[in-house]
């Protein structure tokens, strides 16, 4: 065996470990830099380590021969995403949690002392408990509504759309080429107190019914909980509809025929065949709708009133207006953990192996 082969074999034997190790080291470096954990001359040291790490693996790959390259390739492909997450996800989350446990040096200072200040969390719960509740309640209602509206719509497009399928899907998506903000503000015009919707409702006498249903409040449609939930429902509908459509579209029409052939009425065929096969779509749609809706602040801002603020509004307020980063961070951390917990529970209960 030549020296080259011996060297290549040695590198190949260790390539797996080296690749993984180098990726972890590089990620730690980026988190350290991103969170400003290190300062002064240490920064140069970390940057040097990072460069050596990145270049080192390349050199190893160049000198290691095909087997080493084959083993290193997966880490090479993972690295960009991993480093991106380290810098733009892990580092901010670290900072967020750190600030949430800090106190301001003084009332107007922008500097924080890390001192395990758990009172931030107490304050987040005690002062903003109702905003948390409201956020999850509104998001949950909006999610249910998107299912109730989106499922039949997706069903019709998938099974009865024929050659108009793409046009119909386009009609669902086209409004979303406009900015989220503009669309939400447009709703405030549509639902305005002297707008045509309210006037039309009152003209046909539906006002009282809506009042009774707590959809309208003192003749107003705008600035009610219903308006906020409606806005959320409207804005997140495509995120529910599209996954459901995809899972319905995949269903072979012969399965429905087969159910009919096996003595099932249309209702039973739907219940036993179509619905179970489309559950992965509903599941994916629920995640795509509930998670952003729970953290949303735009709809409550433009369509709600001071009594409909959601946790997103409060976090934004604490961060940008009150300049109270520690409490705002604590609230954001709580929101993140709550959503993660709810999603995990949901996955446990309804989860499907083939989440498509």
């Amino acid at each position: 065996m030549t020296a080259t082969v011996v060297r290549q074999n040695r590198i190949a034997r260790n390539a797996d470990r080296v690749g993984l190790g180098a990726m972890i080291v590089a990620s730690i470096c980026l988190v350290a830099l991103g969170t400003r954990l290190v300062s002064g001359p240490m920064v140069s040291v970390i940057v040097l380590v990072l460069i050596l790490d990145l270049v080192g693996v390349l050199v190893l790959a160049a000198r290691g021969g095909p087997e080493a390259r084959r083993l290193l390739a997966p880490y090479g492909l993972l690295k960009p995403g991993m480093l991106w997450l380290a810098l733009f996800f892990l580092a901010p989350v670290w900072s967020l949690i750190r600030i949430s446990l800090s106190t301001k040096e003084s009332r107007f200072s922008v500097n924080y002392d890390f001192n395990w200040a758990f009172q931030n969390y107490t304050k987040a719960f005690s002062d903003f408990g109702s905003q948390f509740q409201r956020a999850f309640l509104y998001a949950a209602i909006a999610t249910v509504l998107t299912i109730l509206i989106g499922y039949p719509l997706a069903y019709v497009i998938a099974f009865r759309g024929g050659k108009y399928k793409n046009i119909l899907l386009g009609l669902v998506v086209i409004p979303f080429f406009t900015s989220y903000l503009i669309r939400t503000i447009a709703w405030s015009t549509i639902l305005a107190d002297r707008g045509f919707v309210v006037r039309a409702m009152n003209a046909v006498g539906l006002g009282n019914v809506f009042e009774w249903l707590h959809i309208m409040d003192n003749g107003k449609l705008l600035n009610t909980p219903a308006a906020v939930i409606g806005g959320l429902t409207y804005n997140f509908l495509p995120f529910m509809l599209l996954p459901i459509y995809v899972s319905l579209e995949k269903i072979d029409i012969n399965l429905v025929n087969a159910a009919g052939d096996l003595y099932s009425s249309a209702t039973r065929a739907f219940r036993k065949v179509v619905l179970p096969l489309s559950i992965p779509g509903v599941f994916a749609g629920t995640l795509l709708t509930f998670i952003p809706a729970a953290g949303d602040f735009v709809n409550a801002q433009f369509l709600g009133n001071p009594n409909t603020t959601m946790i997103g509004n409060s976090i934004q307020d604490q961060f940008l207006k009150q300049n109270n980063y520690p409490v705002a961070s604590a609230m954001a951390a709580v929101l993140m953990v709550s959503i993660a917990t709810l999603v995990l529970l949901y996955t446990r209960i309804f989860g499907t192996e083939d989440l498509a």
Binding site: L255, G260, D261, L262, Y263, S264, K272, L277
Partner: protein, 382 residues
């Protein structure tokens, strides 16, 4: 049409049109209980549409579909006592094999304990009892096919409809499943009506075959009848291969007809004088396996001379292509174990046959000489 009590399905002058297009024209036949019945034809001949009308997925535009003596033309599929095995099986992917098979009985609200017995019984018949808890995706194509069969048969339908049941399987498996299907059918005694474009499949399995072309039923009969005495030139060319020689009826000699072939000679065809008048334009069908290759011409004139253009050894048989003087090509399938004349490709040779080997069909073929159904061609047009 002779409707007997034992007929499970009767198609009474059934037609189906889509706008101007006639998919099925005046289908009028019946299928007996316990019969293995094939509907055979090239794609677009209306066989699948006919099957769908029996299943209830399509409604006839004219005529009646009778099931067990009752008109079911307007009855939806889920109320008809027939079951279908779909071409791609259409097994429910989210259910186990057991639940798939139990689907029909559960729809009918049969007692769950009875369902368990009957499902396991049926899985036993299709030899899948060890696979009851598997998902369809964990089974091979042949096993999925058998689940589809069990799922349909567990309901003990009056008739089982199979839409190209073997098309999705590879050749070896297809041959095994042909025997398996036949065994299962005998075991359960239910009428099987199956649609195929594969004449070999139809000949192997069926008790009777309906040959269809362009929406018309060309002929209904046992495989032997259809092979030996096809009703039309289309059937002759579609079932097996046939050498079709155009000619004119020259004279009648007792029961025999003498036909003057366009290719030159006048030949004798036994026992068919009554069906074809003198002077009629006819074709003489000669099956390749009935032709004998020889160096000498036949003493009775029952032979044609040509050039051997191709010789393919196929194991038990040898296929010879013989080109006649007018360019017509004949196929001759010779028993390769018999003493074959030593003829080289390019040499002149004779093919001869007995007077009882020919069969006279009305009309002249589009293409004289050898007509073979090219299965590959049909499959590629599906």
């Amino acid at each position: 049409m002779g409707e007997s009590v034992s007929d499970v399905i009767v198609l009474d002058h059934v037609s189906k049109r889509y706008g101007d297009f006639v998919a099925v024209h005046d289908a009028n036949f019946s299928i007996a209980t316990g019969e293995f019945f094939a509907m055979l034809g090239p794609s677009g001949c209306g066989k699948t549409t006919t099957l769908k009308m029996i299943a209830g997925f399509e409604q006839p535009t004219a005529g009646r579909v009778m099931l067990d003596g009752i008109d079911v033309s307007d009855v939806p599929p889920y109320k008809r006592n027939v079951n279908t095995v779909f071409q791609q099986y259409a097994l429910f992917p989210h259910m186990s094999v057991f639940d798939n098979v139990a689907f029909g009985p559960r729809s009918k609200k049969v007692d769950e304990s009875k369902i368990k017995t009957s499902v396991m019984e049926m899985l036993e018949i299709v030899r899948l009892n060890d696979f009851a808890q598997r998902k369809p995706s964990q089974l091979s194509g042949g096993q999925q096919q058998r689940v589809a069969l069990a799922r349909a048969l567990v309901n003990y339908p009056s008739a089982l409809l199979l839409d190209e049941p073997l098309a999705a399987l590879d050749l070896k498996l297809r041959e095994a499943m042909q025997i398996e299907l036949k065994r299962i059918q005998r075991e359960v005694g239910i009428s099987f009506i199956f649609v195929t474009h594969d004449q070999g499949e139809a000949l192997t399995m069926s008790d009777r075959i309906a040959v269809m072309s362009q929406g018309h039923v060309e002929q209904i009969g046992t495989p032997q009848e259809i092979y030996r005495s096809p009703a039309s030139l289309f059937v002759a060319g579609f079932i097996g291969s046939a050498n079709l020689l155009p000619g004119t009826v020259q004279s009648h000699d007792g029961a025999d007809a003498v036909v003057a072939l366009k290719a030159g000679s006048a030949i004798r065809v036994a026992g068919q004088a009554s069906a074809h008048a003198i002077g009629a334009h006819v074709s003489v069908m000669l099956r390749p396996e009935r032709l004998r290759p020889s160096e000498q011409a036949d003493a009775n004139g029952q032979s044609l001379q040509g050039t051997l253009t191709d010789l393919v050894f196929q194991g038990a048989t040898a296929r010879m292509i013989v080109r006649l003087a007018d360019g017509t090509e004949l196929t001759c399938l010779a028993d390769s174990s018999a003493r074959m004349p030593q003829i080289a490709v390019g040499a002149t040779m004779n093919v001869s046959w007995g007077a009882d080997c020919g069969y006279i069909l009305a009309g002249w073929p589009e293409k004289a000489g050898s007509n073979t159904t090219d299965i590959d061609h049909i499959e590629s047009t599906l």
